[in-house]
């Protein structure tokens, strides 16, 4: 606990020297930025991989420039081998899920803004915080290094089901060292995530400033807090599954490998009695909560932004916090919906089906509360606001397609088809990315002291918004038609008629990919050339907007704020301005 008392000490003198200040920094703001840029780098790698995949799927005979230089074995002459496609798919999924969605909204923005929003000078355990970042970076480097091993990057998919992922190179290329690196990377990532989760929980519970009652926490903080609890419980299980898988691969154990497999005409006599289904249960016990780890921080950010730019209190603050808790809790009870076709009894399937629909109820409550927030407001349609409205729309579209997957007899048709790919990209992938864009536009002035360009922002928003629908909506149709996913080619005459749809999606993928360059340009240009931002450019109420942009080393320059108001006091009748800062001592008859 020594760390918890440290802030006052480190309030006095910020560390000097580049290395201590920017590399091995203990400052939550620097660590938050480090996470943010790690995720930014990852999302571009992931995006590039998806574009290569989309290219190969629809023009398998067209040479991809430079690809043969990058991987002479995986893409001889610029044409991908099936293994290489599947490796890119695996890497794309793994990078996006772990190093983008789990990293930016929670560890990035959360690290930067949770302490400031609750009026603390740093996270509870700054050293642990630094450690979790460096472990996460090590995990990313481990994963990326698998691109350079001799039998190729892993290709067991981001779910890595055994026996395929557990029996080693006999089951095909990419299953050797590449897969080992994958497992090690995931295990490391779990360690980083667990440390981070502990820190978030302790910080939220212990370091709130005077007056910051739980029911005065901004919804962002609620979301980070609940995500941390969900992460603590689920990453522990993934860590266990990863270790067992690694032992099966290199330690000769048989947790997940049944006896007597005949792989590539070789009898595997070194395994006996394991259960591949056990892995699936462990994996999805983590896997379903994971999609909420990806999306809950986005919900918090979206609520925060919608309220600010509607100039209205968030509709149903209490309902919003309770539904966050309900979603966090229920997310642990639905994992079986990923296994409806694995041979489970129909009665087990019902239990998971009921719980899956039950989780739709708090989700619906959130959606309608967001609409209620817009209703009757004075909407300022900034780029941040557009991305937040976009988030709601994507969450709704993806959530509704989830209703199909929650019904076992219908899921039987749709499971493992492009329907699922379309569903999870919208509801989790792109929605969370929209929350990240929203958060970036909203908080950039605070983080870098300058404004981002709104015109470029809006062009970027509209291209991306239209584009992602054009990419991912048709996937639902493909899935309904029976187009199986994780196929490296569509040579079959069953798939041929669907090829025009695939081409349409690929072209939009290129457009969306290109549009992201606008964002990158905007981000880096604004960092140096953007208009100077004041303390509170958006007229927001939460505590980060009471300190200079960027905030000083210890956030409040020694003057710890006291909180008198809830986080969303916009448009309060009788108040001086149309909003009341959380730390304003102003007393208004109606506020509380």
């Amino acid at each position: 606990m020594a760390e918890a008392h440290a802030p006052t000490a480190h309030a006095q003198h910020a560390p000097q020297g580049f290395i201590r200040k920017y590399i091995f920094s203990l400052d939550h703001k620097v660590i938050g930025k480090q996470y943010y840029f790690l995720a930014l780098f990852s999302v571009f790698v992931g995006l590039l991989l998806s574009i290569l995949m989309r290219w190969h799927l629809v023009w398998p005979d067209a040479h991809i420039p430079l690809l043969d230089k990058l991987s002479p074995v995986g893409a001889p002459g610029g044409l991908m081998t099936p293994e290489y496609y599947l490796s890119l798919m695996t890497m794309h999924g793994t990078i996006m899920i772990f190093f983008v969605l789990t990293t930016a909204p929670q560890s990035g923005f959360g690290n930067y803004f949770l302490p400031i929003q609750i009026g603390a000078e740093d996270m509870a355990f700054p050293r642990l915080n630094m450690l979790s970042f460096w472990v996460t970076l090590a995990a990313l480097l481990t994963l990326l290094s698998s691109f350079f091993v001799s039998d190729g990057p892993p290709l067991a998919g981001w779910t890595a089901y055994p026996p395929l992922s557990a029996v080693g190179s006999v089951s095909g290329p990419g299953e050797g060292l590449g897969q080992d690196l994958w497992v090690i990377s995931i295990a490391l990532f779990c360690v980083g995530a667990l440390l981070g989760a502990l820190n978030f929980i302790a910080t939220t519970l212990e370091l709130r400033t005077r007056g910051m009652k739980l029911m005065r926490l901004p919804l962002t903080c609620w979301a980070w807090f609940i995500t941390a609890i969900v992460g603590l419980l689920s990453f522990a299980v993934l860590f266990a599954a990863g270790v067992l898988l690694l032992l099966d691969r290199v330690g000769g154990t048989s947790f997940f490998v049944p006896a007597g497999l005949i792989v590539s005409d070789k009898i595997l006599s070194n395994h006996s009695g394991g259960s591949p289904l056990l892995y699936q249960h462990l994996f999805w016990f983590f896997g379903h909560p994971e999609v909420y780890i990806a999306i809950l921080p986005g919900m918090g950010i979206t609520s925060h932004i919608l309220s600010c730019f509607s100039r209205k209190p968030i509709f149903g603050y209490r309902a919003m916090t309770y539904s966050l808790m309900a979603i966090g809790f229920l997310s642990f009870t639905v994992w079986g919906h990923h296994m409806f076709v694995s041979g489970m009894s129909p009665y087990t399937a019902f239990a998971f089906s009921v719980m899956t629909m039950a989780i739709g109820v708090p989700s619906a409550i959130k959606t309608f509360n967001w609409l209620g927030t817009l209703w009757g407001g004075r909407l300022r349609l900034t780029t941040a606001m557009l991305f937040s409205i976009g988030f709601v729309s994507l969450f709704v579209s993806g959530g509704l397609s989830g209703l199909f997957l929650a019904q076992p007899p219908v899921d039987v048709n749709l499971h493992a088809t492009y329907f699922v790919v379309g569903h999870f990209h919208l509801v989790m992938g792109v929605a969370a990315i929209f929350a990240m864009f929203g958060g970036t536009f909203y908080w950039f002035p605070k983080m870098f002291g300058r404004m981002m360009n709104e015109t470029l922002g809006k062009i970027h928003f509209w291209l991306t918004f239209v584009g992602v629908y054009a990419i991912f909506m048709p996937m639902h149709y493909l899935g309904v038609e029976g187009n199986v996913r994780r196929y490296s080619t569509f040579i079959d005459d069953f798939m041929q008629p669907l090829l025009p749809v695939h081409k349409f999606m690929s072209i939009w993928a290129f457009i969306v990919g290109g549009a992201q360059l606008i964002f990158i340009f905007n981000l880096f240009w604004s960092m140096f050339k953007g208009e100077k931002a004041g303390i509170n450019p958006w007229e927001s109420t939460s505590l980060e907007w009471t300190v200079p942009s960027p905030p000083p080393h210890d956030n409040f320059a020694g003057k710890i704020p006291v909180v008198y108001h809830g986080p969303y006091e916009y448009g309060v009748p009788g108040a001086e301005k149309d909003y009341i800062m959380q730390d304003s001592p102003e007393v208004v008859a109606e506020s509380h």
Partner: protein, 313 residues
């Protein structure tokens, strides 16, 4: 246009229509809510845009009735969907008693299909029209999945255990099947055709090939070849007559039904369950017998009946 882009795959099995009705119901609910929410978003975004001189919003309160309405209505809808889908799922889960059994073994990256009469095929499945068919499936290596879109059936095919699906085709013709569980490099090539034939054509097809042994005959040969006979024909091991479908007493006092999975386990992992009154002397045959051969042995054991009985399903 709709020729090229049909709304659903063909309906070619008895369960397809029921599932599609539920599917259309879900689509209608979804379209309704999509329209409702999207129009609301657009309306709100346009109606309440900030206009100059109109900075402060009027006070709107959190309305309890509204909060309740949008919690309760979705909950009721979910209840309806659940009841509907649960009843369908139960109805579709159990194969009818009189189903014809066909055996499927998946391996990287092909499907081997074995008919009880002895005919086997690769990446093709011939079935008769209008008769319930039960596929008993297993894998030799990694997990696969047998998916016939036109029949609306799909089930994982796991190593080390049997899973099954059943269907009754309603249309003569040729339908795709796919592997739908990711299984490595050539996953996308692990596919084939189901040929639905009239029962007479099917009979002709079954007997049409070069005369081969039935599965049971092949099993009988293995029974001798692998020396099962030295124990099971001599009293050192339990006899197989009428074993299939009967209740077996184990030495730990439990009773189990001798179904496919039990027989498979008894052959490959004899020590897992010991029959009461016998010594655990049976050697394991794992690694010596492949999944096809195990299926043949099981077919042989099934064929040993004192009198004809209906199958125990």
């Amino acid at each position: 246009m709709w020729q090229g882009f049909p709304l659903r795959p063909e309906q070619a099995s008895t369960i397809a229509r029921g599932i599609d009705h539920l599917y259309y119901f879900l689509t209608a609910v979804d379209l309704f809510f999509t329209a409702l929410i999207f129009l609301t978003i657009f309306y709100l975004a346009l109606r309440y845009r900030r206009r100059p001189g109109n900075e402060k919003p009027p006070k709107t309160r959190t309305l309890m009735p509204l909060e309740l309405a949008w919690s309760i209505i979705p909950a009721i809808l979910c209840g309806v969907m659940f009841t509907w889908s649960a009843s369908l799922f139960v109805r579709n889960a159990r194969p009818p008693r009189a189903s014809t059994e066909i055996f499927v073994v998946g391996k990287q990256w092909m499907w081997k299909i074995q008919h009880a009469g002895g005919r086997s095929e690769i990446d093709e499945l011939h079935v008769p029209l209008g008769e319930p068919i039960k596929l008993t499936m297993t894998s030799e290596d990694v997990i696969h999945d047998f998916f016939i879109p036109a029949f609306r059936v799909k089930k994982d095919v796991l190593p080390g255990r049997y899973t099954s699906i059943w269907f009754e085709a309603t249309q003569v013709g040729k339908f795709h099947f796919f592997c739908a569980q990711y299984c490595g490099t050539d996953h996308s090539h692990m596919r084939g055709w189901v040929y639905v034939m009239t029962p007479t054509d099917y009979e002709r097809w079954l007997s049409g090939a070069v005369p081969t042994q039935t599965m049971a005959q092949a099993g009988a040969l293995l029974y001798e070849q692998y020396g099962c006979i030295t124990c099971h024909g001599t009293g050192k091991g339990p006899p197989f007559i009428d074993l299939y479908g009967s209740n077996v007493k184990l030495d730990n006092g439990q009773t189990v039904v001798a179904d496919d999975a039990y027989l498979r386990e008894s052959i490959l992992f004899p020590t897992a369950q010991i029959v009461a009154g016998y010594q655990p002397i049976m050697p394991t045959f794992k690694g010596q017998l492949n999944e096809d051969q195990v299926l043949n042995l099981i077919a042989y054991i099934k064929s040993l009946r004192t009198q004809e009985r209906t199958s125990p399903q």
